[in-house]
């Protein structure tokens, strides 16, 4: 069965809330019923058929084509199935998702994967601020799963992160891992200022020595971490070949809060 495909007809002149277009809500609907579904917008009422050309049938396997940064909430609350986006996405991509996979060929907006609890998001290019951060009305950021970002991440990456792994191929903005509770950030090209601000038990792994380290992170020196070997091997199994070995400098912090978190800076 071919993937259920939504091809954007023309550049939207208002923001589109695409949260109804997930497998659980589309299962069993025929094309006409899908085209008749309403999309929440900011100004004029709109149906799926107005904005998208709908093709294919397999609701477990959804594709978006030609989307741009006004297409919000793609894969929100996803609970199984696959969504592939050929294009950019707006805010709240995969927010509160529980399982399944989302892949984006372009960039994603703010709050990507905010408060998600499981599953996998991969964005080939950049993500906006507060990726894996706190969704509206939530007290914690991402609570599980895996986010892989090919390009750069905005500010407040992984804010209030509780569990899960985020890999950033490019640079992360200021306050990466701010107030994180636990979980792991792997930053290939460093971060802006105040990384790990308020970190309780989380891990920030830097492939390169960051320029700016908060004074409330305390040096424990260099040693071998078998965990890094497990992480490297697991990432390779996910198709991410990042070589980083097992030796790293460990800084513990943020000592201004609990102080049981860490920065692992690979040497």
């Amino acid at each position: 069965m071919s993937a259920l495909t939504f091809e954007l007809k023309h550049t939207p002149d208002q923001r589109l809330d695409l949260s109804p277009l997930v497998p659980a809500k589309l299962a069993g609907l025929n094309r006409k019923e899908i085209e008749a579904l309403a999309i929440n917008t900011t100004r004029e009422a709109l149906t799926v058929g107005d904005a998208f050309k709908v093709k294919g049938k397999d609701a477990e396997n959804i594709r978006f084509e030609g989307t741009d940064e006004r297409c919000d909430k793609i894969g929100a609350g996803l609970a199984g199935g696959v969504i592939l986006v050929d294009g950019d996405t707006g805010t709240l991509l995969g927010t509160k998702m529980k399982s399944g996979k989302i892949g984006v060929t372009g960039s994603a907006g703010m709050l990507t994967g905010a408060s998600m609890s499981g599953g996998e998001i991969s964005v080939n290019r950049d993500v906006g601020d507060q990726a894996a951060g706190v969704a509206f009305g939530e007290t914690m950021g991402m609570k599980g799963g895996f986010i892989s970002i090919g390009g750069d991440a905005g500010a407040l990456l992984g804010e209030r992160l509780r569990r899960g792994l985020i890999v950033v191929g490019g640079k992360a903005g200021d306050y990466a891992g701010a107030r994180m509770i636990a979980g792991t950030l792997l930053l290939k090209q460093g971060a802006g200022r105040y990384a790990g601000y308020g970190n309780r038990r989380g891990s920030l792994i830097f492939l390169e020595k960051p320029k700016d380290i908060l004074p409330t992170f305390s040096d424990s020196g260099v040693m071998e971490f078998d965990y890094l070997r497990i992480l490297e091997k697991w990432l390779r199994e996910q198709g991410l070949r990042i070589r980083f070995g097992a030796r790293a400098r460990r800084l513990m912090g943020d000592m201004a809060v609990l102080g049981k978190g860490e920065m692992l800076i690979l040497v």
């Binding site: 899960g164 078998d226 992480l231 091997k233």
Partner: protein, 302 residues
């Protein structure tokens, strides 16, 4: 009916009687295979029989870097007991005292069981609050700070209630040397079979026991019917020319694995033929009423 013989060695028409056990597998890794082996050997060192060791355990096989979660050389260890509670206690004590303490080691789940046993879930408390947990792909690993660096230990491992203990072969021969050589060969052949271990020293028991004793409180005593020095005094099962009997006990994660190991064992024993000095291969049972698993040698040899 003619006697069944393999290369002149008589296969006695009998069966090995075995018992259900609960079993688990853990994977131990270390900076070198040598150190993974040291850790695994220590963990399974005093684990020959549930009679007095609390558990039966052994090394199943070595693992290449590709087969372990951390890409280091590893060893797969199997551990068996008669019930889940005992297995949990034995696992915690053995991993805690022998693997956690071993330089550079890490310990991972080796079995996907319907039920779980705590591994790092209990050993993490050694970290005294400094332990850290990391979840990767749905599996939780504990990082416990220790003097040698960090001990990484997976949260849980699986257990199986389909395990079988006490599969066995008894090897009779005209000299101790011949029987020992044949049994050594058999243990080596069985080591190639997955899901089984031979828990006794080098895989071989020289003191098979019978149930009970003339002494109060002694639950097992020498198997006099198979003790060659008592042939003249007791109702012996041995012909006069038998000088030694050795036994190989096999524990496995499934009955099929034990059958396969016994098959490999019988053929390895008989490889030297009767000329080597091995005369009979038989098996131990209690009449068939105690253990639900019966491994008939005649069926296994084919």
């Amino acid at each position: 009916m003619p006697e069944l013989k393999v290369k002149g060695v008589t296969i006695v028409e009998t069966f090995a009687e075995a018992f259900p056990m609960v079993g688990t597998r853990v994977i131990i890794t270390a900076p070198t295979l040598e150190w993974a082996m040291i850790s695994a050997r220590t963990m399974t060192g005093f684990a020959t029989s549930v009679i007095a060791c609390g558990a039966e355990g052994g090394i199943e096989r070595t693992l290449s870097r590709k087969e372990t979660p951390d890409g280091r050389p590893g060893v797969a260890v199997l551990l068996f007991t008669m019930n889940t509670d005992k297995l949990q206690t034995q696992l915690r004590n053995r991993v805690g005292q022998c693997v956690l303490t071993s330089p550079g080691s890490a310990c991972f789940a080796g079995l996907e069981g319907e039920k779980k046993l705590k591994l790092g879930a209990s050993l993490r408390f050694f970290g005294d609050g400094w332990q850290m947990s990391k979840v990767l792909g749905g599996r939780r690993y504990w990082r416990i700070p220790v003097m040698g660096g960090e001990f990484v230990c997976e949260d849980t491992t699986g257990l199986t209630k389909q395990a079988v203990g006490g599969g066995n072969l008894l090897v009779l021969g005209k000299s101790h040397e011949a029987v020992l050589a044949a049994c050594t060969r058999a243990v080596k052949a069985m080591a190639e079979i997955p899901d089984v271990i031979t828990p006794f020293p080098g895989g071989i028991v020289r003191s098979g026991s019978k149930v009970g004793s003339q002494y109060k409180g002694q639950i097992a005593s020498t198997n006099d019917a198979y003790a060659p020095s008592l042939k003249g005094a007791v109702k012996s099962d041995l012909a006069l020319n038998i000088e030694a009997v050795l036994e190989i006990v096999i524990d496995g994660l499934s009955a099929d694995a034990i059958s396969e190991a016994m098959h490999a064992g019988i053929h390895a024993i008989a490889k030297g033929g009767s000329r080597e000095g091995v005369t009979h291969i038989t098996a131990g049972n209690y009449g068939g009423n105690l253990g639900p698993h019966h491994f008939h040698l005649k069926e296994i040899v084919g």
